[in-house]
């Protein structure tokens, strides 16, 4: 409530600052605008920035930290006997305080200390909100007055404003770095917790995957073993099948499109590939699970093979289809980058078109094609929905494409769906898998991009 008021006040002050600054600038030179260093609008923006920026920064900071900060203060007010528990009871306590504070009855009689803490929480919140409203509004007014008083004909308002804009642009570009750091830190941090419980050697080289940990000591069959080799093998198997489909078909499609097809045919074929690329992966997953898997199973049974209903083959085939446009568009680029003079030289020696392609164009484009395949592999390894919907869940160490295997992404998705507590190795193992996935795909991408760059330089 107070924050909404603050927001409205800030917007009003910013707009007012713009107009005040503008009129002040015009008055400062008695209407002869030419004498100003900058156009009056920049003086307006200058004042508006002074009025708005600090206060908005405060507002943003407060609304991001408010929940956490106030909760910590409320928890600190609890007596020792309550707050001394471990993480899970503390979590319950937090939830109770929040619920009571919002007027939701937790459904059982609450400790009076918790009720008091909830009351304290509400008081602190409203106090904090009022304080932020007061400080924010006065900051804005102060900024407005300060900036307005600085306006003279010589003020380099445009340069100041442009400086701020420049910094804002840099900040936006930095978001990319921030995201990368966020990914790396969150994966590494949680994975470290996992590796503190399970040794990395067991994780990377263990042959048995069964992440269910026992809830009780006497529970049978849920010892929780985290050997990820079956997952890696399953991922590689499905990726391999997908590549068997995607690489030949994608590559031939690219060759055909760039060397053979006349423009009319190309106008037909290009949209087909683009539509294939645009279909969401969940749709491919549905298709794999409900159409392809029964089809493969039926086909296998008709020739006397026993095929699992979640066979790696079905998932891999559909994933291959999904990756065809990816391979073909990347290969298309590299094939087109091969200079025409190489082709002309080959034709001049009497080679047919296919001979030219096979013996001149493709070898010349080979580094680029290899890079394209690597990017496709990285894409296949990271693909989640198709395998989550169509591949199995049991960690099955096999090279038989007719059996069910599970993959890294499937496991991440199933381990983290639903409610989970963050201290069990079962949940944390997903982050260990995520780290492996991230490192592998990153390495593939880096190498591929480097290869493409090198290759491009060769013909430029």
């Amino acid at each position: 409530m107070q924050l909404t008021v603050l927001l409205i006040v800030l917007i009003a002050l910013t707009v007012a600052g713009y107009h005040l600054g503008r009129s002040r600038a015009v008055r400062a030179v008695g209407g002869r605008i030419v004498q100003l260093h900058s156009v009056p609008a920049y003086h307006g923006l200058y004042v508006a920035l002074w009025a708005g920026l600090p206060a908005f920064a405060l507002f943003a900071l407060w609304s991001m930290t408010e929940n956490w900060l106030v909760l910590q203060m409320a928890l600190a007010s609890l007596p020792e006997r309550l707050s001394g528990g471990d993480i899970s009871t503390l979590g319950l306590l937090k939830a109770d305080i929040l619920n009571i504070a919002q007027g939701v009855n937790p459904g059982r009689d609450s400790d009076p200390a918790v009720v008091a803490a909830a009351q304290h929480y509400n008081d602190l919140r409203s106090l904090g909100d009022w304080m932020v409203l007061a400080i924010g509004a006065s900051l804005a007014v102060a900024g407005l007055v300060y900036a307005r008083n600085r306006i003279t004909s010589a003020l380099r308002a445009r340069n100041r404003v442009e400086q701020v804009v420049n910094w804002a642009l840099i900040a936006c570009a930095m978001v990319a770095i921030l995201t990368t750091f966020g990914i790396v830190f969150s994966l590494v941090f949680e994975a470290m917790q996992f590796f503190a419980k399970i040794s990395p050697i067991d994780f990377l080289f263990g042959l048995h995957w069964s992440p269910q940990t026992a809830m009780r000591a006497d529970q049978v069959g849920s010892s929780g073993s985290f050997g990820a080799v079956p997952l890696f093998a399953g991922t590689l198997l499905i990726t391999f099948i997908a590549m068997l489909v995607a690489v030949p078909v994608g590559l031939m499609a690219a060759v055909f499109m760039s060397e053979y097809a006349d423009p009319k045919l190309r106008n037909w074929v290009k949209p087909i590939l683009e539509i294939l690329a645009g279909i969401p992966t969940v749709v491919y997953g549905f298709f794999a699970a409900l159409t392809m898997a029964p089809f493969v199973r039926g086909l296998g049974e008709s020739i006397g093979l026993s095929v699992s209903s979640e066979s790696a083959l079905a998932a891999g085939l559909v994933m291959g289809v999904m990756i065809i446009p990816f391979v073909s568009s990347l290969s298309d680029d590299v094939i087109n980058a091969v200079p025409q003079s190489l082709r002309d030289g080959s034709y001049g020696l009497g080679a047919t078109k296919s001979e030219t392609i096979r013996q001149v164009v493709l070898p010349a484009a080979l580094p680029g094609i290899v890079a394209a395949v690597m990017l496709a592999v990285s894409r296949a390894i990271g693909e989640t929905m198709i395998v989550t919907m169509a591949a199995g869940l049991a960690g099955n160490l096999t090279a038989n494409p007719l059996e069910a295997v599970t993959t890294v992404t499937t496991q991440i998705a199933t381990l983290l769906v639903g409610d989970q507590e963050f201290d069990s190795p079962k949940t944390l193992s997903a982050f260990g898998l995520g780290l492996v996935l991230f490192v592998v795909t990153l390495a593939l991408n880096m190498i591929a991009l480097r290869v493409v760059q090198k290759y491009r330089e060769k013909y430029d």
């Binding site: 570009a173 990319a176 969150s186 969401p280 491919y284 549905f286 096979r358 983290l416």
Partner: protein
Amino acid sequence: MTDLVETGTRSVGSSASKSYYQGDAFAARLRQRYAAERNFKIAGYASIGIAAVMLVVLLSTIIGQGYTAFWQTRIQIEATIDPAEVAPVGTTDRTKISQGNFNKLLRDALAAQFPDITDRSDRRKMYDVLSSGAAYELADAVMENPALIGQKVKLWVTASDDVDQLMKGYIERDAREENRKVNDIQLRVVDKLTADKNIALQFNDTLFTRGDSREPEMAGLWGSIKGSFLTLLVTMFLAVPIGVSAAIYLEEFAPKNKLTDFIEVNINNLAAVPSIVYGLLGLAVFLNFFGMPRSAPLVGGVVLALMTLPIIIIASRAALKAVPPSIRDAALGVGASPLQAVLHHRLPLAMPGILTGTILGMAHALGETAPLLMIGMVAFIVDIPGGFTDSATLLPVQIYMWADSPERAFTERTSAAILVLLGFLVMMNGLAVFLRKKFERRW
């Protein structure tokens, strides 16, 4: 290719009467080469054909499975709104009316049509031709018009999913009763209703007006469509300004130094990071560290924004690059500052390209599922989300959840949901193509 070289050596040694080019060996090799050429071309056609066939199979199975879900079997019931079961005549209070026993009214109405079905278990079977949501439909009708209390009403209510599947021809009547989802009693009821024209396939507005449900016939997509909309709104408001600003900086102002190179490497890598990793980021950072609510469009939107950011940056940079440098030179020449040259001249000219890239990025985000699974958007949520922090589910996630449901009717609805999703994607891509065609400019 090597024939020329070989000719030089062979022609000397070949028989005097025929030149090498007229020899059988040459002709055979030429035939072979042309055959290879033909085969290569066939392989090209075949690969295009495979892609096309897969697309056709994919779309046709989904359309074939899904189009029937746009119709829903409804049954016309003539029920007396008994004041004793609902509320006294003249009540207008909605909550009072909603507490009425509408189930009994419906059952009585059905029983009145089939007086000969008296056995308790048979009666229960008969009642099952109606959806469990039918009572709510009757209640809604009465709440809309309280004057109906005490009157006889004729109303179309939803039939159960099994009856619906029977009407659509997915359940074989000839199968033995224990192998059939619809039992003999229900078959009789449906036949009688059909004869009386009291059962019909009508447009399935439930699909577009309701949220999720455990009952396929009451399950709708509106909740997830709205969830997707709210999420994409957050994504757009974050990704577009940040992405375009970053592109402007990198393309127009960034000095060539280590930091800029590092940013570029980061952007290229982020574009190729598997989407599920963004989900892990969202879970660890936004949910656990910042304590943001689970299943909220706000968090989903932020995660998708981080994911689409590289796409938008790359597209915007390409669009800015396509504007000729002479525009900037002209602006600088008449006294504009570098920032003015970009914001007033280059950016507006690049805007169509940026817009196209943005729409394509948004379409990509709309179809994305994996990262949303991590941040708790796979939840059974019946209510229609009203704000950015309400629990919500999204269209692709809804598809994922329905695909897991065993009922035949849900398979049909999953396909229908996919068709709706594809419809949105076609619209967005169509808009992008339209913008590109309309504003495309050759410099």
